[in-house]
């Protein structure tokens, strides 16, 4: 099945890495890129992708705000966060904002393909690291 994906991250080098990984999967196509939440909302409207791979921390409009807007504007679009924030609180916020998936950037190469596969089938995919933060004693 062809999955059309929009990649959103403010770092071009990260977008390039995500694109290389996603396009290595047969049948998947990165149809566009955006560098902040506002551009993501615009491009989602123009390109009508199946899945959006979305960063949290970005200039102009962050990923959570974009996700909330998109939930009402493009209910069919599945949103998967790929973020630096390895935190249960942030994951909960992302899911409450309407995302279907949550992957930590440091594990993206390992988890991303399975996550896109899952959310494209409207299943939830979340993965955090076992030890998210240093233990403060």
């Amino acid at each position: 099945m062809t999955i059309r994906i929009l990649v959103v991250d403010d770092h071009p080098i990260v977008r390039q890495g995500l694109k290389t990984l996603l396009e290595g999967h047969s049948g998947w196509q990165v149809v566009g890129e955006a560098s902040d939440g506002a551009e993501a909302v615009e491009k989602a409207r123009d390109l009508n992708p199946d899945v959006m791979v979305l960063d949290v921390t970005m200039p102009r409009m962050n990923g959570l705000e974009a996700c909330r807007l998109l939930r009402s504007q493009a209910p069919e679009l599945e949103i998967l966060f790929v973020t630096q924030h390895d935190s249960p609180q942030m994951m909960r916020e992302a899911l409450e904002a309407g995302a279907r998936g949550y992957v930590v950037k440091s594990n993206a190469a390992r988890d991303l393909l399975a996550a896109v596969e899952a959310v494209s089938q409207h299943r939830v995919f979340t993965a955090l690291n076992e030890r998210s933060f240093p233990q403060l004693t």
């Binding site: 403010d10 770092h11 071009p12 080098i13 990260v14 977008r15 390039q16 890495g17 995500l18 290389t20 990984l21 902040d36 939440g37 506002a38 949290v56 921390t57 970005m58 200039p59 102009r60 409009m61 962050n62 990923g63 959570l64 705000e65 790929v82 630096q84 924030h85 935190s87 609180q89 942030m90 950037k105 440091s106 993206a108 190469a109 390992r110 991303l112 030890r131 933060f133 240093p134 233990q135 403060l136 004693t137």
Partner: protein, 233 residues
Amino acid sequence: MKLRILLADDHEIVRRGLRALLEKHEGWEVCGEASDGREAVEKALQLNPDVVIVDIGMPNLNGLDTTRQLLQHDPHFKVIVLTITDSDQVIREALDAGARGFVLKSDAARDLVSAVEALQNKRMFFTPRVNDLVLAGFLEKGQTVSRNEAPKLPTLTAREREITQLLAEGNSSKEVASLLNLSTKTVETHRSNIMRKLSFHSIRDLVVYAIKNNLIQIELPPPPKTPAGPTAA
């Protein structure tokens, strides 16, 4: 002969992006990758690359100490530091560590090829902000970099910095000992010395110190929900 580049970043997705960018350039090859500073030092010694690109915020051994260790082993290593911030302190530390290139991660797609080209031609590459700081320091002090705000970091030895980073990352003394092939007792002696030198009483103090001195980096979450309209993240 191809220019051989070693990439060190803890995010595989970033390494993939960097590799794709660099290998588009004819005559360059990525000869190896490392996911932390310690592995970068090992691989650099093994592979002897022409250029080493290191991220500052790596676990186990950060990019600045990686640069220091590489140049201690062989002063001919040419290191480009990749960073998410070009604060004065980070710039000073990168220059002090001996980096010959300094590129902001957000600008890597634009600047990294130029940086590698510069090093290939035996020149250095810095962002405009680094050039301004170096020039300002030179004009003010007659030296390359102003030391007015020198970090406290040099008060620790290289080994103590390494141990501070590992402890601040949440490792126990036993885990640090295993990572560095030391006895737990030796690590605990270093730990006591570090706490004494810095007048700290808890690991919490050490974590704050490590963040302030760029031994570890954290990304803050975006602000909570805001009224409608775009805001900065």
